[in-house]
């Protein structure tokens, strides 16, 4: 039974359509397996070969993968939420309440989005602590640590911009306080605040700008930096698997 399924799959892999899409054909040789990873646009970011040791739970606690999982949940829940949400004053608050009380599964999607956002911030920090205390940030991986710091800032800024969107009192005052913190930047502070809010107060322009940042600009930047982050793992010799690997 299993054998016939395998042979059927092998047959499928040898069809012209499959070969035209995936190039690498059937067969369990190492070359075929390597090609399957190398010739796939998504998989090629990852290493062709991975040390079995570095896949153990205790090495990473899977924190990076879990962070990616939270990010994917946020994208998948965020897009449907956009279909019911108008980033305008005072409609935004009413839409948020509609999502909670009127739209089928709205409350599920909204809460999943919110909890995943909290989880992602937590996981990013946990991931960074794990990397730091294992010493996995050291040469040759120091640039990937820098990319990671950029991703941390993007996560925090995504969190911050998303916080305004419910347009309730908590959101309004949090962004009022946060944007006044930006004014503390020397020389340019007041100007950055004006550009970010699109005005002097947290108002319709600020809501629209935060919406565009939250839904387009920052996720796009995050995807680009995530791709660099994963690709660098491969280029830096795979996941850091322990003290024995470190020379000097």
């Amino acid at each position: 039974m299993a054998n016939s399924l395998e042979s059927q799959l092998a047959g499928l892999r040898d069809t012209r359509v499959w070969r035209s899409i995936f190039r690498s054909g059937s067969g369990a040789t190492n070359l075929r397996r390597a090609l399957a990873v190398q010739q796939n646009v998504f998989l090629h970011l990852a290493s062709v070969k991975v040390r079995k040791r570095s896949l153990a739970f205790r090495v990473t606690w899977f924190l990076g993968t879990l962070t990616l999982g939270a990010f994917l949940i946020l994208v998948l829940t965020g897009i449907p939420l956009m279909l019911y949400y108008h980033p305008s004053v005072p409609q935004a608050y009413a839409d948020m309440n509609d999502l909670r009380f009127v739209v089928s599964a709205g409350v599920f999607l909204r809460n999943l989005h919110r909890w995943s956002a909290h989880a992602m911030v937590l996981l990013v920090f946990a991931h960074m602590f794990k990397v730091f205390y294992r010493g996995a940030y050291r040469s040759p991986r120091e640039f990937n640590w820098v990319v990671g710091v950029v991703l941390l800032l993007l996560t925090l800024f995504l969190s911050y911009t998303g916080y305004l969107l419910p347009w309730d009192q908590l959101a309004f005052w949090a962004i009022t306080v946060g944007s006044n913190l930006i004014s503390a930047v020397p020389v340019l502070g007041a100007r950055i605040r004006f550009l970010l809010l699109g005005g002097n107060t947290v108002n319709a322009n600020a809501l629209l700008r935060f919406y565009v940042l939250h839904c387009v600009v920052l996720p796009l930047a995050a995807v680009i930096f995530l791709a660099i982050h994963f690709w660098r793992i491969r280029k830096d010799g795979g996941i850091y698997s322990g003290e024995s690997e470190h020379h000097e």
Partner: protein
């Protein structure tokens, strides 16, 4: 023999190429500078649909002596003290939250981080670095009390009625 033959046209070629590279890099730099100026100008709105900074607080006799009146919409206090009327911003000097007048305590308090102020705006305690802003206030020709929220006063100034 061919070496010296080729040398001259080659160096002329490379200097021409260098000139084009410089021209290309230069024009990209100019385009980037132009794009950042355009980008800045585009992102900074020229027309703001925000409330006017000058607010009409009504007739001065609405404010009896020895009272503090908070205008929640305008975010200001009108205080009638012994020296006369004065206007103060209700926006906390810490991080911009709207403070509230507590009549039972006779102080102004901020809900966000706990700053407290006297009724003349001076700080009692809390993270606020400065006293509350005094605002320019005057009586219009129609006899209304006007307050300009964009004009903080550097020294105390009273409106006598």
């Amino acid at each position: 023999m061919s070496e010296s033959d080729h040398k001259e046209p080659k160096s002329a070629d490379s200097s021409r190429r260098q000139a084009f590279v410089q021209l290309g890099v230069g024009s990209i730099c100019v385009a980037c500078a132009g794009a950042s100026v355009f980008g800045y100008e585009f992102l900074a709105p020229n027309v703001l649909y925000e409330p006017s900074p000058i607010t009409n607080a009504g007739k001065p006799d609405r404010y009896p002596p020895d009272t503090v009146t908070q205008d929640l919409q305008a975010g200001i206090y009108i205080v009638h003290g012994p020296e006369g009327l004065y206007a103060m911003s209700a926006v906390c000097t810490h991080l911009g939250c709207l403070t509230a007048w507590k009549p039972e305590l006779g102080i102004v308090a901020c809900p966000c981080h706990g700053s407290k102020f006297h009724r003349d705006g001076s700080k009692i305690e809390g993270p606020a670095p400065r006293p509350l802003q005094w605002l320019r206030a005057w009586i219009s020709d129609e006899g209304d009390l006007l307050v300009d929220r964009s004009e903080p006063l550097s020294q105390k100034q009273f409106v006598r009625t």
